[in-house]
């Protein structure tokens, strides 16, 4: 039937009857979201491009070929990205494999622990790792009598791999769950052993998953700013170089230029991924599993398959224990006696202000980001035919662009009034002297960094909903917008929930874009943590991290309660089919 072709665009043909137009509500939603995206991503990026082409910026580009220092920085960034992407993908795969193919006690717990790094503030890992394994670390020096050099590539590898592997884990897990068990059964029925089935059937089908998570991790790791600042030592990468250029040398063109180089891998990966995404039909999403999942029963195989997952999750638990214990210790590793001094310090000083303001701004940004993501998803999947790829691209750009780049873009764009010709269209939004102490720009950054997650999960959820459901609503007289409110939104509520929770956690733990636009009037928790770590007050940093983690968990629980509570018990059930 025509289902295969209805996706195609309408053809231009002679004697065209009047075109059916989008209704007002849909059109408004489309215009508002596109304007927001242009303002929050495209505009800052264009400004970076302009500034990077000025004097010192041009020098940076010229130096790529000439200066050994610049080349070294670029090489460092690539090496770090490749190592972390490899390690993270391998860890992610073993964890996913254990979840899908192994039967063991504590499987759920392993899953939860594996996701914990997603909500961990950027310095928690680095600081805890230094305290445990550094030159004067509790484990290395006190227990083993070693004094290793952790600063630099080794430390960055450990910390970044642990921070980012959940991304790989989630994407590979999703893919493995979607593999039809009947394929395994078919392979077995043709006489293949479990091992042969794995290498000949399972593994080849997972290659796109590996590739995409590798690329994703590469971008995340190569663009990270927080950890290179704390544990990078003299291993300089592009993001830390850009940070120094702007915050230390006050050389905006050079900073823009470094960040522009950083943007390149991000954009390439983003485009490759989209191309790949179109083609990943190798994975058989049949909806109805036709067989039952078989588990690996061989004891020896099971043991070896579980080594990595157990080690990694234990490590995460250890880190968390260190962070929490460290927040109550006088000086972890030196004086382990318990105290509340760290918390007292935070609540007495500027820390309290940072907690309140960061949380408030994240709470403002979260619903905006969630809604923006869902509206974009809906427009892309259901409403817009021509240009949907472009809107999708614009929407995802907020995440595809490294935080450092976005931060610099915001700083140079919104630190001044925005003018079109001679008319001021926007007041100064960022930096000292900005309206609301620069809070508007920060909320904007939170929003644009978080909405892509909502957009992705919204698109995935919408694609699972039979378009006939929307059509049924239309044929019953509902406008496009009423259909969105009454039918689509309730059906994608679980996705919305995920989007909202991610948005909040992401906002609370983000540093790289914020560090360039934070002001004394609006202190940000992650930036405060950096300051504490920088001045060696690890206890305060641990206390901050602990508080941050609990705020994130608390708000996530609250969102869960709010969004789930209102929905009916059938909201999670998928499309009705006979």
């Amino acid at each position: 039937m025509s289902t295969a072709v209805i996706e195609k665009d309408r053809a231009v043909a002679p004697k065209k009857p009047k075109k059916i137009k989008l209704d007002i509500g849909t059109k408004t939603a489309l215009i508002i979201s596109v304007v927001l995206l242009l303002l929050m991503v495209v505009f800052p990026l264009l400004n970076i491009l302009t500034r990077a082409s000025e004097g010192t910026g041009r020098e940076v580009f010229a130096n790529i070929l000439e200066s050994a220092v610049t080349r070294k920085i670029i090489m460092n960034t690539i090496v770090l990205g490749v190592i972390v992407a490899t390690v993270g993908t391998v860890i992610g795969f073993f964890l996913a494999y254990a979840q899908v193919k192994l039967n063991f006690r504590g499987k759920k717990l392993l899953h939860v622990i594996a996701l914990v790094p997603l909500i961990t503030p950027p310095f928690a890992f680095a600081t805890a790792v230094i305290s445990l394994f550094g030159r004067s670390g509790i484990i290395t020096r006190d227990l083993l009598g070693l004094t290793p050099t952790l600063y630099g590539l080794p430390g960055l590898t450990i910390v970044l791999s642990c921070s980012f592997f959940p991304v790989a884990y989630m994407s590979i897990l999703g893919m493995m769950r979607n593999l039809d068990p009947a394929l395994d059964e078919a392979s077995a029925s043709m006489g293949a052993s479990k091992l042969r089935t794995f290498f000949k059937v399972t593994f080849p089908m997972l290659i796109p998953g590996f590739a995409s998570s590798f690329l994703l991790l590469f971008v995340e790791a190569s663009a990270d700013l927080a950890n290179p600042l704390v544990i990078g030592g003299d291993y300089t990468v592009l993001s830390s170089r850009a940070y120094i250029a702007i915050n230390g040398e006050y050389d905006v063109p050079a900073g823009s230029a470094y960040s522009l180089i950083l943007l390149i891998p991000g954009l390439i990966v983003f485009i490759v991924q989209r191309y790949w995404g179109e083609r990943k039909s190798v994975v058989s999403v049949t909806g109805k599993p036709t067989g039952t999942q078989t588990f690996v029963e061989n004891k020896i195989a099971k043991f070896f398959l579980l080594v990595i997952p157990v080690l990694v999750t234990s490590f995460i638990v250890l880190i968390y224990a260190t962070v929490i214990f460290g927040s109550f210790a006088k000086f972890l590793g030196v004086d382990n006696s318990l105290t509340l001094d760290n918390y007292r310090y935070i609540f007495s000083g500027v820390g309290y202000d940072a907690i309140i303001k960061t949380t408030t701004m994240a709470l403002i940004a979260t619903p905006i980001a969630g809604l923006l993501g869902m509206v974009l998803a809906w427009l892309i999947v259901r409403k817009v035919r021509r240009g949907r790829e472009f809107i999708d691209f614009l929407g995802m750009l907020g995440l595809a662009v490294p935080g450092t780049v976005l931060g610099i873009g915001f700083a140079i764009t919104f630190n001044d009034v925005v003018k079109i010709g001679d008319t001021t269209v926007l007041p100064q939004l960022a930096g000292g002297g900005a309206i609301f102490g620069g809070a508007v720009a920060i909320v904007m950054v939170y929003t644009i960094r978080s909405s892509p997650a909502g957009q992705r999960s919204g698109i995935a959820a919408l694609q699972q909903i039979n378009p006939a459901i929307d059509e049924a609503s239309a044929s019953l007289g509902a406008s496009g917008f009423r259909t969105f409110r009454k039918i689509t939104l309730p059906l994608i509520k679980p996705a919305l929930l995920t989007g909202l929770m991610f948005a909040f956690a992401h906002s609370m733990t983000t540093l790289s874009p914020i560090i360039f636009i934070t002001t004394p009037e609006t202190p940000i928790m992650t930036q405060k943590i950096l300051a504490e770590v920088d001045s060696g007050r690890f206890g305060n940093a641990f206390a901050f991290c602990t508080l941050l983690i609990f705020i994130v968990l608390g708000v996530m629980a609250l969102i869960n309660l709010l969004v789930r509570g209102k929905s009916t018990n059938t909201a999670n059930t998928p499309i009705v089919r006979a």
């Binding site: 039937m1 072709v5 007289g477 009705v576």
Partner: protein, 374 residues
Amino acid sequence: MDQTVKATTSSSNLQLRNLSKVFGQGNEKVTAVDSINLDINPGEFITFLGPSGCGKTTTLRMIAGFETPTAGSILLDGQDMSALTPDKRPMGMVFQSYALFPHMSVYENVAYGPRTKKMPSAQIKTEVEAVLESMSLTTMANRSPNQLSGGQQQRVALARAMVMRPRVLLFDEPLSNLDAKLRAQMRIEIREVQQRLGITSIFVTHDQDEAMSISDRIVVMRNSKIEQVGLPAEIYLRPASVFVADFIGISNFLEVASVKASTEGMAKVAVLGKEIEVPAHKDSLTKRSILLVRPESIRVKKAQAGNQTISGTQGRVKQVVFYGEHVEYRIETEIGVIVAVASDPIYEEIVQVGQYAEFSFDPMRSWLLPADTH
């Protein structure tokens, strides 16, 4: 079902004028519907029948407004619908997947349309309850759609479309997800409701039995075009083309020689060495033609003992399928394999595989039609 849902005051007529739909652009253009014309009478039950990809669903979706025609117009009681979005068209649709809203109860599903129309709530309650009652769904009102059986879901989908009192009801293969028995039962229910309310209806299916049993008229589609429009009996017994004959039911096509005109609507042809007079399509005299004989028109009897020849009228039985009320034979003959159906067979007279059988047919039960298949 009772009569609580009142019939719409007047039935509507629907006209399709040069309706076309082209998907894609440039080199990837696919013509899904090619300039079709059709007049549907008020209160008529029309079925679009055809193989996959023939354009029947696209046509339906253009009528509903989900696809924009590339050319042509859709007139409802003379008013052009082309510029109206689906929500502005007075048409109800029943989807193949039912498309029930999974987050709403049965009642809420049915009330969705009236609520969208901002009907007074008292009226909504009365109307929804009446429709549910008429579809025997009252006890299911508070259930969630996925707590219902396939047949019940189907009824909710129908109730939801009917409560809007549409001027046209559109059905997109609504029975294809049901098992055979339920399908037959729902056919009758749909037909009954449609006749009671007199709603002009269009039903898309690829199931010929469904089309034959439910429709006033059948529109057979092929390769984006209408192949034939006619009453079910006309489509089956007087097909306009080999395609139609072949698509609906089983056909034996016999080569004919020396076609000559006879009395009105008849032709003299030589077939299997005999000259007979058969009903003929008007084009069969001018074009190369072929004789259609349906399996049930062929009489089969055991060949006389010892007579084991294969000729034009006798052959060896290759396959015997026993259905209970009839037996289906496949007989290898000089002119190819002939399919014959013997209804209400006498046990002793059933011919076994490998045995030889004579066959014959009544010329009045055959049909001469043009042989070319375009």
